[in-house]
Amino acid sequence: MIRFALGRGISLCLSLIVASLVIFAVIEVIPGDPAAFMLGVNARPDTVAALRAELGLDQSLPARYLDWVGGMLRGDFGTSYTYRTPIAGMIADRVWISLPLALYALILSTLVAFPAGIYAASRRGRAGDIGVMGATQLGVAIPNFWFAMILVLIFAIELRWVSAGGFPGWEAGFWRGIGALTLPAIALALPQAAILARVMRSSLLDILGEDFMRTARAKGLSRRRALWRHGVRNAMIPVLTILGLQFAFLLAGGIVIEQVFFLPGLGRLIFQSISSRDLVVVESVVMLLVMVVIVINFAVDLAYAAIDPRLRRRG
């Protein structure tokens, strides 16, 4: 196990290094001079040159790369060109919106998907199963931003149950914050719930066909208890894997949803920064997201291998 973990750890570091190189390389190519943009249409060339020097855009590429990586390792994500404030602080502010949103969506999708998947598996082939499967087919096919548009139309504009978006800040109260995140979380959760329900169902069906289930029934356990005591617990393993990966996806994939609901989260930060050519912000935030995803994958791998020793062999 230790060797496995070490091996994975090394590939983790390698992945991070390669990722940082790729990100830096891609971003340096984006057209657009941040200094010219900041100063606007009527600015004079000498003013632009002064700003370029001030922002350190004159240094060589390798120097800027090493500065960036070195800074990140120290926890210093650099300073934003447009906002002139430390990026670490900006990320911290926004993470408290993107992270709860992803968690909220994960919880919602789990609350819906688990019972649905279990129900479908237990009613396999019958009306209940077909109904659930039909619903998930639909859920997977609906684009989440379109679903968001419809939710806003019905619940925010017509019924006025919740506000149409924006975030009042956690200091306005925990429940107010949750209220503001509800519609976005539902929109995000829908396709994930559909996928999760299907995975739950198929994983459970696989388990149900296994020998030990028949043994459990033979021992005298009722169908229900067999399902719960042995079936669900064992089916959870692949499901938990998906959950981990889904969380990473939700975190990164909330970008479009944040746009629709004008939530000041990480996704919106990326959009704004790309528009204003604030390179350092884009680099740092993308690197952060990639790091989170890589680390989650790593953790899931380890957890999975810890549970199922068969997986520790490479390949």
Binding site: G166, F262, P264
Partner: protein
């Protein structure tokens, strides 16, 4: 239980209603990148801070007139070169330090310095020297007479700052205005509070929150859900009808100084041929663009000048919608089969939507315009700095900016010495009648030369709660001046 709930709900509603009496939540589309109106060019900076947090020697009123600001009066020498400003007494900055002539000298010197990052350095170009006579008197000497000097000093780029607080101005602005900067939650809002030490009449509002909502749908939803009290520059003109029909809201549609034009690259073929430029202008149907892109908001213009300005000359007849004549002109120019070019469009909907309509109109006369939707940063680099474009659509929002046609290095590269002469003469003239005549000449020259296709003057729709008073109808400069805003009883 139910009674507790209703009691709580009522209390909350009342608290909310009571709070609304002296505080306001204003939404605008774009967020300022920083808080230094003398450093950045983004209009959004002025929208939040102009006249609220910062003031200059002169300032703009809602109707566009230039009135005394921090300077209560001034004298101009007979040769027009020396301006002596008498400053108001007892003016303090938000950090408590006094405002005096030294600060004026500091502000102007800072703007004119070699390494200054002031985006409108040109406003200060004619200043030879700033002299402090005494704490309440400052003398500005020009190198040559400039009839627009007082007008220029009213711009947001010429506000007065203090050396004690200027280092952090981008994130912690300290000015002399009736509101103080409280805090900035980046990506979301900026909060201002009333400054109790203000030299002038205290504003009715004690607190103001600016929120930034770029997305048109989110804007609509925010106003409908009453999450904001007013939206200045509402980005979705198609929804105005709904707001007008709703008694909770008022809709104000004012004008701006924004001439929206289809700019042509005069330096590059085939736009270097006046016949081709005229053909493009005649292929355009302005009303279709106003209806389709702006849902009816906007006033057609025949030249680069604001139609609400008394010196405007109506030259719409020089470019009516005439596709047949356009085709004839193209044939005359040697392009009977038309030609292909690029149409680069920045983000605003007047450009994106307007662009689609224009492309379709140009296609009718044989001109294939390849639409490229780009971000502002790209637009500035490709179109504005490098002149790498065929056609583009943009709105020039600085007031009285017809002078850009005198600069042959400006992005559309118009080079006409006759026009430059007119501009030179204008700069030296202060007599109103002579100025009007020169302005008419200038407008006629650029209209007859069809330098660009002049589309319409941008309108600014503001949607607000019905009880809100004092919001500016027009935008003579980028500003959301809250000094006169209050809630009706």
């Amino acid at each position: 239980m139910f009674r507790i709930l209703t009691a709580t709900a009522t209390a909350m509603l009342m608290a909310g209603a009571a709070a609304a009496q002296d505080s306001v939540r204003i939404a605008i589309q774009l967020e300022p990148p920083n808080l230094d109106p003398t450093g950045g060019a983004a209009q959004a900076i002025d929208s939040v801070l102009y006249s609220n947090v910062f003031e200059g020697l002169t300032r703009f009123e809602a109707d566009g007139s230039v009135v005394p600001g921090l300077a209560q009066s001034w004298e101009i020498s007979d040769d027009g070169l020396t301006y002596t400003f008498r400053l108001r007494e007892g003016v303090t900055f938000h950090d408590g330090t006094t405002m005096d002539a030294e600060d004026v000298k500091f502000s102007y010197d800072r703007a004119m310095a070699e390494d200054s990052i002031n985006a409108q350095k040109g406003l200060f170009a004619d200043i030879a020297e700033v002299t402090v006579i005494d704490p309440a008197t400052v003398e500005v000497t020009l190198s040559r007479p400039n009839g627009s000097f007082l007008f220029n000093m009213a711009w947001g780029d010429a506000v007065i700052v203090a050396p004690e607080s200027v280092d952090d101005i981008a994130s912690d602005p300290v000015g002399t205005g009736p509101f103080m900067f409280d805090r900035w939650v980046q990506g979301d809002r900026i909060e201002l509070v009333r400054y109790e030490g203000y030299w002038g009449e205290a504003p009715a509002l004690a607190r103001a929150t600016f929120r930034f909502i770029a997305d048109p749908t989110a804007a609509f939803a925010a106003v409908m859900a009453e999450d904001v009290d007013a939206f200045v520059g509402f980005p979705a003109p198609e929804n105005l009808v709904q707001f007008e029909a709703d008694p909770r809201f008022q809709v104000l549609v004012g004008n701006t100084e924004g001439e929206t034009i289809l700019a042509m690259n005069n330096a590059v073929a085939p736009f270097d041929d006046p016949l081709v430029r005229e053909a493009v202008a005649l292929a355009i149907d302005r009303q279709a663009i106003i209806d389709g892109a702006m849902f009816g908001q906007g006033t057609p213009i025949g030249t680069h000048f604001a139609p609400h300005n008394p010196d405007y000359l109506d030259l719409l007849d020089l470019s009516p919608h005439d596709p047949d004549r356009a085709r004839e002109l193209l044939a005359e120019a040697g392009l009977p089969d038309g030609f292909a070019t690029t149409l680069k469009l920045p983000p605003p909907s007047y450009a994106r939507r307007g662009g689609e309509i224009i492309a379709s109109q140009l296609r009718e006369v044989g001109i294939e315009a390849d639409i490229q939707n780009i971000e502002w940063a790209q637009w500035i680099e490709e179109v504005f700095t490098n002149g790498d474009f065929g056609l583009t659509i943009v709105s020039h929002t600085e007031p009285m900016d017809i002078g850009i046609y005198a600069d042959p290095d400006y992005y559309f590269a118009y080079d006409n010495p006759d026009f430059r002469d007119v501009m030179e003469a204008l700069s030296a003239t202060t007599d109103p009648v002579a100025r009007t005549d020169l302005l008419h000449r200038a407008q006629t020259i650029i209209a007859e030369d069809h330098v660009n296709a002049y589309l319409f003057e941008l309108a600014i729709p503001t949607v607000a709660q019905a009880g809100l008073r004092g919001l500016w109808l027009n935008q003579p400069t980028a500003a959301v001046d809250l000094t006169g805003v209050s809630w009706a009883e």
